[in-house]
């Protein structure tokens, strides 16, 4: 797969599986799962540093920013103001000018507030951020995000952490046809076949967290996801056969007795 790199805003990525760092038992498990996944893009949340207990270790002691592309996200932000503030803080921390922009619309579904997302993306793009927006599986919104300057879009497969897989494959296919930038399916993957399917449809990458961190054996699932994304990508590039209602013999008739 070395010849099949993913390029976003002039940056090249080796892996088409991107992973989150939440919900793991500890940092050792986080590190092992990320290694097993083969991911080179790792998303992290932006939060207050614990000033009362300094004995606690830091995530970046385990995930080396020199080895991985750290993708700060605005998880937990419900307003444009918060999403912009968190993005600016993330950039000021000096790790990255990339941001996985989330403006969450509702606590129960964690669906994106797409109107707020577009507004926040406009502000941040003007400030020079590379905005990767977590968006709904809505082709019109995806197109608007690209039109205002997002170098990739990240539509959800299903609600964050739901494990439901791709709920609207037809919309995803329309997004893939509509936008001419990389499409990263973000959130809702449950198991390896979901990831493979996203890649077979032509998604450029898949980002997931809970599907790996919440598995009984996260490290084994991370490895499964690596194979799934690679297999799906190869199948997409190879070009699948068309579906037909009736059988077509794969052995020749000639030479039969």
């Amino acid at each position: 797969m070395a010849d099949d790199r993913l390029t976003i805003a002039g940056r090249e990525f080796r892996s088409r599986l991107w992973v989150g760092t939440g919900k793991y038992k500890d940092f050792v498990e986080t590190k092992k799962a990320i290694e097993a996944s083969g991911a080179d893009v790792v998303t992290v949340a932006v939060r207050r540093v614990n000033i009362t207990d300094r004995s606690k270790e830091n995530l970046l002691d385990y995930i080396d920013p020199k080895k991985y592309t750290i993708l700060p996200n605005t998880a937990g932000c419900y307003t444009v103001e918060d999403a912009v503030r968190y993005s600016r803080l993330a950039r000021a921390a000096g790790i990255s000018d990339l941001v996985k922009l989330e403006v969450i619309g509702d606590e129960k579904t964690l669906f994106p507030d797409t109107a707020g997302l577009i507004e926040a993306a406009k502000i941040l793009i003007k400030e020079g951020f590379i905005v990767l927006p977590y968006t709904n599986d809505d082709p019109i919104v995806a197109k608007k995000l690209v039109d205002i300057g997002c170098p990739a879009v990240m539509p959800l497969a299903a609600p964050i952490g739901s494990g439901l897989g791709i709920r609207n494959p037809y919309n995803l296919k329309i997004i893939l046809e509509t936008v001419k930038v990389p499409v990263i399916v973000d959130a809702g993957v449950g198991t390896a076949s979901d990831a493979a399917l996203a890649m077979e449809y032509g998604a450029d990458a898949v980002l997931m967290n809970t599907a790996i961190a919440g598995a009984k054996d996260p490290i084994m699932m991370a490895e499964a996801m690596k194979y799934a994304v690679d297999a799906g990508r190869l199948a997409y590039r190879a070009g699948r056969i068309p579906r037909k209602l009736y059988a077509t013999a794969s052995s020749p008739i000639e030479g039969m007795l």
Binding site: V19, G20, T21, G22, K23, Y24, F27, T30, T43, V44, A45, V46, R47, R48, V49, N50, I51, T52, D53, R54, K56, E57, N58, L59, L60, I70, P72, N73, A75, G76, D82, R88, L89, A90, R91, A92, A93, G94, I95, K100, E102, I104, E107, L110, Y134, I160, G161, D186, A187, L207, M208, N209, T210, A213
Partner: protein, 78 residues
């Protein structure tokens, strides 16, 4: 001595302490955090120069494990 708010908690610090001084006192490595002073984000270069005033609100922000969508505002991290 003077009182300031750091990450939502009131703290007593030496009068005129710089942001860099505060980070040292808190045992925080400056290269991995961002600092917001009264809602203005400081450039790293300002940490040494900027002195705190009585009643200042300081936010020290870093990165935590997360994928997407977690609720809650400003939970603390290690």
């Amino acid at each position: 001595m003077m009182r300031v708010h750091v990450n939502g908690e009131q703290r007593t610090v030496a009068a005129g302490v710089t942001v860099a001084g505060l980070l040292t006192e808190l045992d925080i490595r400056p290269e991995r955090v961002a600092v917001e002073l009264n809602l203005n984000i400081l450039d790293r270069g300002e940490f040494e120069r900027r002195s705190l005033q009585e009643g200042d609100r300081v936010e020290i922000i870093g990165f935590i494990g997360g994928g997407a969508g977690q609720g809650g505002s400003w939970p603390t991290i290690g």
